[in-house]
Amino acid sequence: MPRSILATLLLLGATAPALAGDSGGGGLNAAAIGMFVGIVLVTLGITYWAARRAHSADQFYAAGGQISGFQNGIALAGDMISAGALLGLAGLICSSGFDGLIFAVGYATGLPFVVFLVAERLRKLGRYTVADVLATRLSETPIRIFTAIATLIIVMFYLIAQMVGAGQLIRLLFGLDYLYAQILVGALMICYVMFGGMVATTWVQIVKAALLLTAGVAITLLVLARFGFDYDSLVARAIAVHPKHAAIMMPQVYSGSVWQSISLGMTLMLGAAGLPHVLMRFFTVPDTRAARVSVFWAVMCQSGFFALIFVIGFGALAIVGGDPAYLDPKGGIRGGGNMATVHLSHALGGDTLMGLVSAVAFATILAVVAGLTLTGASAVSHDLYARILGRGRASERSEIRASRLATVALGVLSVLLGIAFQTQNVAYMISLAYAVSCSSTLPLLILALYWGGLTTRGAIAGGVTGLVGAVLLTVLGPPVWVKVLGNAAPIFPLDPPTIVTMPLAFLTAFVVSVLDRRPASASVMSPAV
């Protein structure tokens, strides 16, 4: 049970198949529809404005390096707070108490690592993609191919999971059919990325983050006001409402083996640090100082939001969990755990606040899928097409055309896969994306940035070991072997497998580099562009 929680939580719509046919959500509500249309219009307006600027490769991939540190910080915080964090954490607190806070703490500690170790050097060495950074000192062709493949694997799994979750959530929130929801989300994200590139993607993310923080603060204040601004009486009420009472203050996720707990802790903390769409943000600011300023604001907003979860989560349990109007006949949250925050906003501020929260959830999905699509498209057009196929001689115009084609292809593919996986359990895809991120891109990046001894062979060997290990152990582990394939017991017991695969990737890269006496062929190649 606890093993599944990472996956369940990270994926906002993990409860999906059980919900089919149950429109237990808010249904149609004028405020929600109004704000939903408002979000679509505002983001399309941003795209129209950005489209007039996004003609160069620099604009498309990195917003011309013109995003200020503060703006990028807000956008970065937006990347870190997915719909799973907004809706899933409160739902998890409603169902199993303290677990939700374990995730909030874990997520919050991830970004500082990017700040301390990665952000500035990344900005200093790279231009558009993570592969640019690795290619500054490793042999270009193999490292770009590997990094592009790892990026696409992470992006696709993450994207499919988001699409499936988005379809279910939009149906619950706005009463829109799953199929139409897929097409709508797909069309909007293709539109933002294809016409507006990184400029539009960043501003969509900024709008969403501002809305999200506003809604979070509003809900927090209203919850506290209900309890006379006495946090202790709020927690006391939450404990009284939950059937397990005081037992909810002990996290269920730590009821498994010690290794399981540590592996989960590592993944929560380090998973985000290797996600390519998060790393790509650092190329949008003018210099390393701006990169540093941006992470400061990002941590303030992101950690501030995760601290609010301590109020919102217990508030959802205390207010929604104790009100039969929001519960299904079995005593669960009507419409599933992801609806807890939405119901809470309804209980506190009626249709208006509920409309705002629903619209924020929708904007969150759009912003995250747009960022993912842009990152995937960059890997295809910049790393594979322009640098490998074109050997760096492809014209900027043809590179931009390639990125637009890649955007459409990725968008259409994710809509089709979103439809294909509608009734499947896709929770493992998020586990997989995080495990691959922790075990392949992150180790390579840390070694490339801090260890002069890393050779191309070492990097490829370490990266491939981490990637294959993470995929294989996830398939043999609880998320796929038990939950998808229906076997009784997993062959590999840990979910996520990070505690095995991440050290393995580091070790392989180290040993192969040391054995590989030949120096990296970096000196004979041109600096990365």
Partner: protein
């Protein structure tokens, strides 16, 4: 300038800063590790009420403190790193 030299240059110029980065990362790991580790080793410590008769537990406050520590450490890092690069 070759790519290797650029990397070497970058590494040499921000050596004190890299040291600062790793120190901060270590402190952050220790704080988070203490939070997770105490739950694993001694759950009773974390589920104990903050004061007799209270519903808020030690773990709740510990979690909030761990989150706040990310803000404090990042703020401190930015302050120190700005000073290092200004020199």
């Amino acid at each position: 300038m070759s790519a290797d030299r650029i990397v070497a240059e970058v590494a040499k110029n921000d050596l004190p800063q890299a040291r600062l980065g790793w120190t901060m990362a270590l402190v952050q790991t220790l704080i988070y590790g203490t939070f997770v580790g105490t739950f694993i080793v001694s759950p009773a410590t974390m589920t104990r009420p903050l004061a007799p008769g209270m519903a808020v537990t030690v773990g709740t406050v510990g979690g909030l403190a761990a989150i706040l520590s990310t803000m404090v450490l990042t703020g401190l890092y930015v302050l120190l790193a700005n000073r290092l690069t200004a020199r």
